[in-house]
């Protein structure tokens, strides 16, 4: 049963006589109990979209349904009651720094109408859940980033929400802390049955925890499906670019001119199947040489995908036959254009501002989670 449903939602801002369409005709449903992810480069409209779900941002057009009930026009106390059912955590934690950890949590309890006599018990219960019971009287400034996010999670869970929205909730954290927060969120999802909507530009986060994922580009959802399917066989250029940045599977452009003649192809295969024997066999049979330019295996949840970039060179007919045979053995096959490859760097720099961030996230994680094939 879908707990959140967006029907043809658009959000338009008017700023200095400029009209910005932050979200364009997005329709999607989030199922009860799943971890639903929205990925995309910065400026894609993810943050705006997630703010529509608890009506921090009113949609300009379209409808928002919660458990089947249309809440698009909710106001006043009805709106506040809806928000109590939806927790929200942020990249910047957004704690009230001049009051203690306990008072931060109690802010939500007061909003939720809890009896004052229950505040202390419930606050301790929540802080215990996130492993910070001993910090109840500390001020947020003396906590680490990960601890602050835990407090924010405790606050978001105070009123026993059905849904937890996470806006780049791990993007300000280091690798280890990100893992801890993701573990905690997965535990919350499993044990409390809370549906999670998580937006991020970090593919490492996406592939670890999302059940399903929507890819956003320029205000629209361009691809949506099971996380493994979307990332193992990306159909849209944005998804492909996200995956390539993450896996670092671009051939260095400066290397391209010095490569021997031949066809460069990208092969994708299920990571558990080994490709090396196939490659040497194909090379032998057709009398071509196949050079592996780049190889990578990455795990998406329990599944692995492998990506190889190879250069096939030899006689034209032999190369074509070899390519046909390779094609029949892999599930992703794409011929790469040499001139485009040589320019890939420039094109990447131009198509989005956040390229460096996405690159960094990918680079940091590469050593950790992947093994070179």
């Amino acid at each position: 049963m879908s707990v959140i449903e967006l029907r043809d939602v658009s959000v338009t801002f008017h700023e200095r006589r400029q009209t910005i369409e932050a979200v364009k005709h997005v329709s999607l449903t989030v199922e009860k109990g799943e971890i639903f992810g929205i990925v995309g480069f910065s400026g894609a409209g993810k943050s705006t979209l997630v703010r529509v779900i608890n009506l921090l941002q009113r949609p300009t057009s379209g409808r928002l349904l919660l458990d089947g009930a249309d809440i698009t026009d909710a106001k006043g106390s009805q709106l506040r009651d809806i928000r109590k059912r939806i927790g929200f955590i942020f990249q910047g934690f957004n704690l009230i720094s001049n009051v203690t950890v306990g008072r931060n949590v109690q802010f939500a309890l007061k909003a939720g109408g809890w009896e004052k006599s229950d505040w202390d018990r419930r606050t301790r219960e929540l802080l215990r859940l996130v492993g910070l019971e001993n910090k109840i009287d500390t001020y947020p400034s003396s906590l680490s980033g990960g601890q602050k996010q835990r407090v924010a999670i405790a606050r978001a869970l105070a009123n026993k929400p059905e849904i937890l929205l996470c806006d780049e909730a791990t993007s300000a954290l280091d690798l280890e802390t990100t893992e801890e927060i993701l573990d905690l969120l997965q535990r919350i999802n499993r044990e409390l049955g809370i549906t999670i909507v998580f937006i991020t530009h970090q593919l490492d986060v996406a592939k670890q925890v999302f059940d399903r994922v929507a890819v956003m580009e320029n205000g629209s959802v361009v691809e949506l499906g099971d996380t493994f399917d979307v990332f193992s066989a990306p159909k849209h250029a944005t998804t492909r670019s996200l995956v390539e940045r993450y896996l670092g599977i671009a051939v260095p452009p400066q290397l391209v001119p010095s490569l021997p003649a031949g066809q460069i192809v990208e092969l994708r295969y299920k990571g558990d199947a080994a490709l090396e024997p196939l490659i040497s066999e194909v090379a032998k049979r057709h009398g071509v040489s196949i050079n592996v330019l780049h190889a990578n295996v990455s795990y998406f949840g329990p599944h692995a995908i492998g990506i190889l970039i190879v250069l096939v060179s030899g006689g034209d007919a032999a190369v074509n036959a070899a390519l046909d045979e390779l094609k029949s053995h892999v599930f992703g096959f794409r011929k790469l254009d040499r001139t485009a490859l040589a320019q890939i760097h420039d094109a990447d720099g131009a198509d989005n501002e956040d390229g460096t961030d996405a690159d960094d996230a990918g680079n940091e994680n590469r050593g950790e989670k992947e093994t070179n094939a």
């Binding site: 608890n54 929200f88 957004n94 009230i96 720094s97 001049n98 009051v99 939500a108 909003a111």
Partner: protein, 219 residues
């Protein structure tokens, strides 16, 4: 020297008390009403609350209009107004009224900028808990703005001490009145020196205490 001492003993306690009365009353009124106006400005300006450009522009205009008059001119303009309210404008209460009218928009702008410094993300988080606006103001915005607020109150008190000397010159009493009457009109340099020293000490103490409290509430 003898006469200087006599003048001081005879007049200084009353002058100090009058100044303290005028400054305290106008600070209190300035902070309370100024905060309310600042809240109105803030809530009508902020997209997350009740954006209302018209209300915001009207209040902003009134605040700016009063702020644009130098206090010396505002004070003169207000003499007939004060006369209508309490009869005799040349009393400490008359001075306190003029000072209050100057203090309200002054503190309103200070409080508004203290509110504006608050991270919008914090407001989003507060709103997302389902809290009503009243709770967001009392439990999130105020604690977060408190250090800037306290520094603003100190600034206001010190400005009002300065302004209170001006209302003194037109006969509302207080330490400024005394400085003009004896120090200026009667060439009692000794009185003037004592008053200057007292003012410096008072302002230093207020600043020091204010900074100390502001540090205490910053975490």
């Amino acid at each position: 020297m003898n006469s200087t001492q006599e003048i001081l003993v005879e007049n200084l306690p009353k002058a100090l008390a009058d100044t303290a009365y005028m400054v305290l009353v106008s600070t209190l009124i300035g902070v309370v009403l100024g905060t309310l106006i600042a809240l109105l400005l803030y809530l009508t300006e902020n997209q997350l609350f009740r954006p209302s450009p018209v209300v915001n522009a009207i209040i902003g205009f009134v605040v700016n209009a009063i702020r644009s008059l130098p206090f010396l001119i505002l004070m003169v303009v207000l003499i007939p107004v004060v006369q209508i309210i309490i009869g005799d404008p040349y009393t400490p209460t008359g001075g306190a009224i003029s000072l209050s009218i100057a203090a309200v928009p002054y503190f309103a702008r200070i409080a508004e900028s203290a509110f504006a410094e608050i991270d919008p993300g914090l407001l989003e988080a507060a709103i997302s808990t389902g809290a009503p606006t009243r709770q967001i103001i009392t439990d999130a915005i105020f604690p977060q703005a408190l250090p800037s607020f306290i520094r603003g109150i100190v600034l206001t008190i010190i400005s009002l001490i300065g302004y209170s000397a001006m209302v003194g010159t037109i006969g509302a009493g207080g330490i400024g009145d005394m400085a003009i009457q004896y120090g200026y009109n009667r060439y009692e340099t000794g009185v003037l020196v004592v008053i200057v020293v007292i003012l410096i000490i008072i302002v230093q103490i207020i600043q020091w205490v204010g900074d100390w409290i502001a540090r205490k509430v910053t975490h």
